[in-house]
Symmetry: C2
Subunit: 333 residues, 2 copies
DNA sequence: CACGCCATGGCAAGCGATTGCCAAAAGTTG
DNA sequence: CAACTTTTGGCAATCGCTTGCCATGGCGTG
């Protein structure tokens, strides 16, 4: 495995006949060294196959060129877009990307942060389960960027679901539905609140009755109970907290012989993998999740350069759009 | 963000009235220090909220307590399980988990490794795109563990697809099929070769005709061309390189009005998310991908302790099993 | 020609741990 | 009680790199 000795800055220095500091500067701070010297040093470094040690650099400079992303649950395909976007952006900037799961627990989240604190330049918290106050407190000590969560004073990148929810309601209204049921996700989930507020507000202004059921676990299995609960209400349209739940609902409805969209329309959020090939194909609110991941990395990078002064709380809001497929249709007469 | 000064081992030492080395030993090497002293030091450390700096530790000791996992393509849900398994195992062992994508390129893979080499204790290469020789060469310098790839002399964790392929063929044979078509994946894909060998071997011994088409991109979109190609052959059973491809095939067949499984049976590999709710639900070879990820981390850990001597090439083989759903049925008369 | 400035490179002090070696203290043994 | 072993804690070097500060020499200017 490890070769006994990696070549260091000193090896290069000796071989090039200069001091180690000169090598360091040739590499990091080109203008501090004569062009010819620099050229020479670089050539020698190349020849010796020199690779800087990120650890030593980080230890000395305090910059790790690493970010960590914390995700509540890797089982949920919803996060894969965000992860992908963040990873891409980070690696494009030559930044190492650490991924970690918090198992849906705020405590765990805090521990992970504490654990990684010294090894990274900042954290991307996707759908954080912590309280606003908890986050603000953490932000005093650490560089944070939020995804799909807004907290006053903290930088965040969120896919809009307020306006998106309005699109859903309008879509349903235009199909003649007069009422809808929202199947809510976990209470700590910030988007869940946003979505409900969006739905309720739009429903009110369009003269539609909106009711909320739940919370349900935002997974396919959660759909069973959810579907049954919906049927009791006699609603003609149901909006699920996310696609997983929606797919679970579709399944249960099929089992119970309820036809979608003839008897009831179903809408989800996220447009995850599979939403287009479940049956019927799911109408869902799609958002640029990968953009959100990307933006979050950028927010982190902005704050990193901003010396040790106050951090920005720039908030990036990304537009969503409704993808209409086969799970929504005219309200039954 | 960063508080100006983190508390260090020296702060603790001063406060506790001992030398820094004693603090270090109290923390890492309990038996080297008097129980009472240790107790005292720990108490002070706790009070001061001391957190060790992983960077400094790593720099000095050479152990980073970090592993990196390289995956060709995050878009592919196939890897979700492996990633999850590896992440879980790593974090259970208190090891930081770095995730990186190689964009399906061997060069990129090598670069990433080179880049991260000094920051990690080892690499998990999932479905590596590199050649056997390339991997062996890399293994001289780095601590590697392979997932779903076998190379003589290197540690690996693979989900069996040889025996699994036999299960598929037997299943099809028992349904009366006399021939099958295999839609192959990318040529650099090691499992693709395994699967084909498994299918062909079993087919031969069961008196079934097996032919191979492709390669096709192992994604849903690849299924279009693949399905068309299959129809030309008039085969009654098709085995796709993976579920994504299989799902693409199902779609295309539906478009062309070919009914599954009445006219043709379809089988996939991986049992990814969605395989159970596409229509018809997909018969597929399921394997414990997360186990594979888990095992890979363990292999890495084993080799890490093994000082600098020769690495093990322990190979973990995980059993797969056939999940029979609705996409396979009796051969048409 | 003398003086001062700037570009350039070297010295050395960290960054925060770990660890080999040594010395003092404590415990053992005859 | 002397001689010896073991336990325990401290000193200082080290990991590989960055960076503030200083010394030098070349060059421009009056």
């Amino acid at each position: 495995m490890n070769s006994p000795k990696r070549t260091t800055i000193y090896d290069v220095a000796q071989e090039a006949g200069v001091a180690a500091s000169t090598v360091s500067r040739a590499l990091r701070n080109p203008r501090r060294v004569n062009a010819a010297t620099r050229e020479h040093v670089l050539r020698v470094a190349e020849r010796l196959g020199y690779r800087p040690s990120p650890l030593a650099t980080a230890l000395q400079s305090g910059r790790t060129a690493t970010v960590a992303m914390l995700v509540p649950d890797i089982t949920n395909p919803h996060f894969f877009g965000t992860i992908r976007g963040a990873e891409r952006r980070a690696s494009a900037a030559g930044i190492t990307f650490i991924l970690s799961y918090t198992e849906e627990s705020a405590d765990n989240e805090r521990n992970q942060i504490e654990h990684l604190a010294r090894s990274v330049d900042g954290f991307i918290l996707a759908s954080s389960r912590m309280s606003d106050d908890g986050l603000l407190e953490l932000a005093e000590e650490h560089n944070l960027a939020l995804v799909n969560r807004e907290v006053r004073g903290l930088p965040s990148a969120v896919v809009d679901s307020r306006v998106g929810s309005r699109q859903i309601v309008e879509h349903l209204a235009s199909l003649g539905h007069r009422s809808l049921v929202y199947l809510s996700g976990p209470h700590q989930s910030w988007p869940a609140g946003e979505r409900w507020r969006g739905l309720r507000g739009s429903a009110r202004s369009l003269g539609i009755r909106a009711t909320r059921l739940g919370p349900f676990p935002p997974r396919v299995v959660g759909g069973g109970a959810a579907a049954d609960a919906v049927l009791v209400t006699g609603a003609t349209a149901v909006v699920a907290h996310n696609d997983l739940l929606a797919i679970g609902v579709l399944r249960r409805l099929a089992e119970r012989g309820v036809s979608v969209p003839e008897q009831i329309s179903v809408v989800g959020y996220d447009d995850i993998f599979g939403a287009d090939f479940c049956v019927p194909a799911l109408t869902t609110l799609a958002g640029p999740q990968d953009e959100a991941g990307r933006s979050a990395v950028e927010l982190l990078l902005e704050n990193r350069s901003r010396s040790t002064t106050r951090t920005t709380d720039r908030r990036v809001m990304l537009p969503s759009h409704l993808v209409i497929r086969d799970s929504t249709g005219p309200a039954p007469a």
